[in-house]
Each structure stands twice: as structure tokens, then as C-alpha cells.
Symmetry: C2
Subunit: 216 residues, 2 copies
């Protein structure tokens, strides 16, 4: 883990120097990370220069869904590992994150456990929790929800068809991380996308100023 | 892994000698394992003597949902591990699986990656894939779907509200495991429960005959 942390620190330094804001998206398989990314890239095209790293155990399906949307995309197949690590990310950065990129989005392997333990050098972990997964996941997988300042409650278009209890879910999240920023979002119908895009824009611009402060 | 496999072989031998059929339920977090178990225990109460082992990283929520349904239930909190292992199961068996038990259901940690690699000594792995997770998971997490002879497509009551393509999902499953037995099921409205209960009854009875063969 010290080995990983050293690479993560290098990555964060490298990204910060270049004024790139990096986020690490972590969730269960099938919580809607890739659809959210498709919609996000469509919306920020032309305004936030962006690169994407997609982690999957097998296949490059997700990366292929994201090409042609204005962002450079790199797929990492982890094969025998259930998470990305910082060394894998570091190897990709120099080629992928070219001058002018302001935002790096890393879509981690779908897994609520191990990815949370591996710092990749991002500036912010973003947890996704789809409303179809129930309200108890923050308590059952506390590490992720404690290290992610932002949690996206996804697939909210399905709420009318579920017995999902929003108050209970948010209370469970706040038990684990009282200051969590919770955004409700449906990539399917676009509900809640504005707040998410505002979050990305805000931080990508802040990262730009840091670069200027560093003389970049 | 050899260490785990040795414990798994011991567990399987121990269970087979006693005429117990053991299954290992594996899926993403939130795919509906615990609700399915609640409904299953309600249905088999009085007909198939059953014990349950529930694995979670944290909390005993799931175990508490299953008490009072006629089965002995034991919770294992894995804390820093994203899967159950055979040694943990072996320690629990002698106390939990008392004489007369015909079925042991192990609910693994919610994770599509690592649990598939650890044989617990079960007789059959059962993969759950909720229809909300999309059609591509068998290709992205092939190990689980290759080692599980049975796959339950869960939450089918939500199909009318999704863009889920059943033919594509089943074709992806069959690419990974051509002989997979695929059962569609909704624990919420009971649709498809009959085939699942029939599968359990059939194998619990077969396990009984093996015990008789062994002179048990």
C-alpha cells in the first residue's frame, strides 16, 4: 500500500502542476457510471477539455461507448485485479493528459470494496449509489462512503417504481460521512445533471488557477 | 489459493457426508440477494431444513433480516476482505449445520470480482444479475459467470421501466457459459420463484440420497 501511495502522490503532483482536476468514480457494477460519463462528455464538450481513464476487469466496452465525444479515452483492463492502482494510472498520464486538459475522469472497476482503498492520485473520489441498490450500502461498505466527499444517487428516474427510502439512504450516508455532498441524478432523463456539471466546472476552473499559482 | 482450496475440499466433504447441499450466492451489491433469501426462507420453512451464512464487509443487517424464518443464520463480517474464504466457512459449519439440515445457503459479500475466485466448498455457485445492472456484466466479469452453473436474473418486475434487452443479456451469458441455467425472478412480486424453489428442493433431495449412499 505504501508502494501505491507513493505512485498516487506522484500522480497528484503531476496533475496539479498541470492544472488538471482529477476525479475517481467508484461504485457497484451497473450503477450507471458509463451512462453518466456518456452524458457528461456530451455536455462538457467544447467547454471543459477532458481525458478519461476507464478501468474494467475485462473488455473495452465502456471505453468504446465514450469515444467520439470530444475526450481522449484510455482503457485499462485489470484482468486479475478488482481495482485500479496508482502505478497503472501513472503510466497512462503522460500520453493521455495533453496540454490544455483541465479534467481527468477515472472510471474505476465496478466494486464497492477494494477500489476505495487505493488512492490513484485523484483530487476527489466520487461514489455512485444507484437507488436500485437499496439504502443500506453506506453502512455495509463504509470505507468508500467515508473517503468520497461527493456521492451521486443515480437512476432517480426509477424511484417511483421502488420501495426506496431517500431519507433513510441519506441518513445512512451522513452517519458515515456527515459532510458528504449528495447529488441526485438521472443520466437517463437528465434530471440533476446541472448540479453535477456545475461541480465539475467549478473544480476544473479552480484547478486552472492552481496551475497559474504554480506558474504553469 | 492452495490454502483456500484445501479448506474448501474439507468443507465440501464434510457437507456431502451429512447430505447437505450447499450453494454460494454471488452478485453485485444491491442485486437483491437478501430479499431473495427472505422470500426463499419463508417458502421453504417446514419443507427444507436450512442454514444460512451471510458475508458482509460490515454490519449484521442482512443476518438480522433473516432471523425468525426457520433457518439458523450466522453472520461473518469480513472487515478488510472483499470476499468470504473457505477457512471462515469451515470454522462455522460444525455449530451451524446441525443434524437434519439439508440445505446451506451462503450469501457472499456483494462483489462481482473476488468472491468468484474463492471456492468455499459449496456444491454450486449461483450468480445473481439484476436487470438494472445492464446486459454487459457477463462479458466484463467473466470469471463469475463462467464458474456459476446457475444465473438468476433478478428484479424482473422493473423490466417495463428499463431499456434492458433480455436477448442480449442472455446471449452474453451464453458466450461465457453456454450451458448456464438462467432463471428470471422477482423476489418483490414472486414471479419466477417456483423454478428457483424447485431447483433448491431437487438438489437438497439429491444431497440426501448421497448421504444414504455414504451410509450417513
Amino acid at each position: 500500500m505504501a508502494h501505491n501511495d507513493a505512485f498516487a502522490a506522484q500522480n497528484r503532483h503531476w496533475l496539479s502542476q498541470r492544472g488538471v482536476f482529477a476525479i475517481n468514480l467508484i461504485s457497484s457494477p451497473g450503477s450507471g457510471k458509463t451512462l453518466l460519463l456518456e452524458r457528461t462528455l456530451d455536455q462538457i464538450k467544447g467547454t471543459i477539455p477532458c481525458a478519461v481513464i476507464v478501468g474494467d476487469v475485462h473488455t473495452d466496452h465502456d471505453a468504446r461507448r465514450l469515444v467520439g465525444k470530444g475526450a481522449r479515452v484510455h482503457q485499462i483492463e485489470t484482468i486479475h485485479s478488482c481495482h485500479l492502482n496508482a502505478e497503472q494510472i501513472g503510466k497512462v498520464l503522460p500520453d493521455l493528459v495533453q496540454d490544455g486538459i483541465k479534467l481527468l475522469i477515472i472510471e474505476n472497476v465496478g466494486n464497492l470494496v477494494c477500489p476505495a482503498a487505493f488512492d490513484l492520485g485523484e483530487h476527489c473520489k466520487v461514489a455512485l449509489l444507484s437507488v436500485t441498490e437499496g439504502e443500506d450500502k453506506p453502512l455495509k461498505y463504509p470505507l468508500l462512503f467515508s473517503v468520497a466527499p461527493v456521492c451521486l444517487l443515480t437512476k432517480i428516474d426509477l424511484i417511483p417504481h421502488l420501495a426506496w427510502n431517500e431519507n433513510l439512504c441519506c441518513a445512512n450516508l451522513r452517519k458515515i460521512r456527515p459532510d458528504a455532498e449528495i447529488l441526485k441524478i438521472s443520466a437517463m432523463d437528465g434530471n440533476g445533471m446541472d448540479a453535477w456539471l456545475h461541480f465539475l466546472e467549478y473544480h476544473a476552473l479552480r484547478a486552472k488557477s492552481q496551475k497559474q499559482n504554480l506558474g504553469g
